[in-house]
C-alpha cells in the first residue's frame, strides 16, 4: 500500500496549463506537489498523496488521462476563442458585428442580390 505516487511529465510534450488543470482536478482527494527534475529541466515530477483514506492505486493512470483531456480542452479553447468572443460580443452589441448590412442594409438597393429572380 503506497502512500505516495510520483509521475514524471515531459514539459516539452505537455503544456503548463494542461498540467495545472489536471493537477487541480485531483486536489480534491489528494495533496499534489510539483518539482522540477534537477537533472533534466524538461521534466517535472508530480507527487500525489491521499488527503484521507488510501491513495487510489490507479492515480497515475487517472492523472495521465486527465492530462490528455486537458490538452484537448486547451486546443479546443484556442481554436474556439475567436468565435466564442464574437458570440458574446454580438449577443450584447447594438447593431450587427457580423455584417452591418443585417442592420442598416438598404432592402430596396439589395446590395447582396437576395431579391435576384431565379
Amino acid at each position: 500500500m503506497t502512500d505516495e505516487v510520483a509521475v514524471t511529465v515531459d514539459t516539452t510534450l505537455h503544456s503548463r496549463r494542461a498540467i495545472f488543470e489536471a493537477c487541480y482536478k485531483l486536489t480534491g482527494q489528494n495533496f499534489v506537489t510539483l518539482t522540477r527534475d534537477p537533472g533534466n529541466p524538461n521534466l517535472v515530477v508530480i507527487g500525489f498523496r491521499a488527503r484521507k483514506d488510501a491513495l487510489d492505486p490507479s492515480i497515475a493512470g487517472i492523472f495521465a488521462n486527465e492530462l490528455i483531456d486537458q490538452e484537448i480542452r486547451g486546443a479546443l479553447d484556442r481554436e474556439m476563442a475567436p468565435i466564442r468572443e464574437l458570440i458574446v460580443a454580438q449577443a450584447f452589441a447594438e447593431g450587427n458585428l457580423l455584417d452591418s448590412l443585417r442592420e442598416d442594409g438598404d432592402y430596396s438597393e439589395d446590395p447582396l442580390g437576395i431579391g435576384q429572380l431565379r
Partner: protein
Amino acid sequence: MASANFAEPPAPAPAYRLLPFRFERWKKREVLLVNDVGDSAFLDAPTFYALVGHCLSVASPGYLELKSKLFLTDGDPTVAIDLLATRYRTNKSFLSGFTGLHLFVITLRCDHSCPYCQVSRVKDGGSRWDMSPETAERAIDLMFRSPSPTLKVEFQGGEPLLRFDLIRSIVERILERNRTEGRQIEFVIATNLAPLDDEMLAYLKDRSILLSTSLDGPAPLHDANRPRPGRDSHALVEKNLARAREALGHDRISALMTTTERSLAQPREIVDEYVRLGFDSIFLRSISPYGFAVRTGAAARYQTSHFLDFYRAALDRIIEWNRRGTPIREVYSQILLSKILTPFATHYVDLQSPGGAGIGAVVYNYEGDVYASDEARMLAEMGDFTFRLGNVHRNTYEEIFGGETLRSLVASSVLEGLPGCNRCAFLPFCGGDPIFHHRTQGDPIGHRPTSAFCAKNMGILRHLFERLRSGDRFVVDLFTSWATGVPAPRCEEEAPV
C-alpha cells in the same frame, strides 16, 4: 431560371469549423458535449476524437446532429454565430431587469428554535429587533430604483407574522407608490404559519399575498428539526395550512423543505408527506453552512454524497407518484431541466452566471443594512460583514448597487473566469455562489474539487442526464413538462365524434 436538378446528392461538405463547446467524460466510453448556449450531445469516443481532430466525415452518424445543434458549421459561419448570439443573449436575459427579488427582514423575533436556522433568532419582545417605518420607507425607495418591470417582495424574519402590522403598512405603502410606478408586484411571506389568524387571512386574500412555509417532512421529523415550545410545529402547520388554503385558495401556499442529518434517512417519507398534504411541488434543498447551522454542527456532519443518495431516492419516489397519476414536481431539478431542455433563461439566483446575489435579489435587514443575499446577512450575524452592500440610511442606490463590494462579488461569480468551472461541461447550467465558498473555504472563488456546492450540482446534473437517456419515455415526458411548464400532451386516441 435554373432548372430543377435537385435529384443530385449535394456535393461533399467542405471542412468544418468547431463552434464553442465543452466536454465531460461519461460512462461506457461516451463523451458529453455541451455548447455555450446549453445544448448537449453525446458522442462515442471515436466520433469525439474524429470531431476534434477535424476528420469527422459528413456521412458519419452524428455529424448532421452536431451541425443542426450548432456544435460545428461547414457553411457560412456568420449564420451560426448570429443564431448562437441570439441564444446567448436569451440565456442571459435575466440580467436585463436587474434586481427583481427584494427580501425585507422585518423582525428577528421567532417562537421556533430550528438548529439549522439561517437567522439568529431572539425570543424576547421589544421592537429593537424589528424594522422601523423609516427603514422600511428607505428600503422601498431603493426597491423602486430597480429597473425591473416585475418586483417580488418577500417578507422574512424571524417570523414575519409576529409584526403583521408592519407587513400591512409596507404593502400599502408599496401599492400606493406603485400607482405611479406601474410595475407588476408580487408579495410573499415566508412564515411558519403559527401566528396566522382570520384577520390576517382576510388581508392576505384581499391583497393577493402568497405564503411560503417550511415543511420538513412527517411530524416526528419536522418537529425534531423545528422545535418550538409545545413541540407541535407540524400540527400547527397542518392546521393552518388547511385554514390558509380555505381562505386564500389551494395554490396560494407553497412549502420548502430543509434537509438535515435526520432527513437523509427518510426521502420517501418526506415526499409522501408533501403528497399527503396536497402540495404539487417540493424543493429538495441542501443544508447551508450559515447561522445556527454551523454553531450546532449540523452542517459539519453533512456529506454531499449522502445528500445525493437522498436526492436520488426522493426523485425516484416523486416519479413513482407521477406514474400513479399524482402530479408532483421537484423544483431544483425543474430549474436545471429548464436549462438543459429549453432555450429560455431561468431566474434562480444561485444558478446563474453572473450570480444573482445582489443583482437578481437583495436583502434589506431590519436595521437598514443591505445584503447581497440571505447568506450574506447570516455571515454578518456571525461577525463577517464582507458582503454587506451598505445601509439604507447612509448610502445611495449608486453606492449600494454600483459599489466595489457588489462588483467584486459579481466578478467572482462569473463561471467563465473561475478555475475548475471555465472548462466544465456543466458551465451553462451552473452558478458560482461566492458567498458559500467564502464561508466554507475562505475565499469567494473557492476550491472546486472540495466544494460541496460543486459536488452537489455535478451529482444532480449527472443524474438528470442519466435519467433523460434512460429510454424511459414517461420520465422524459415528465421532465420535459417540468422544464417547459406545459402539461404533457396525451398521446391517447381521440374518442370518436
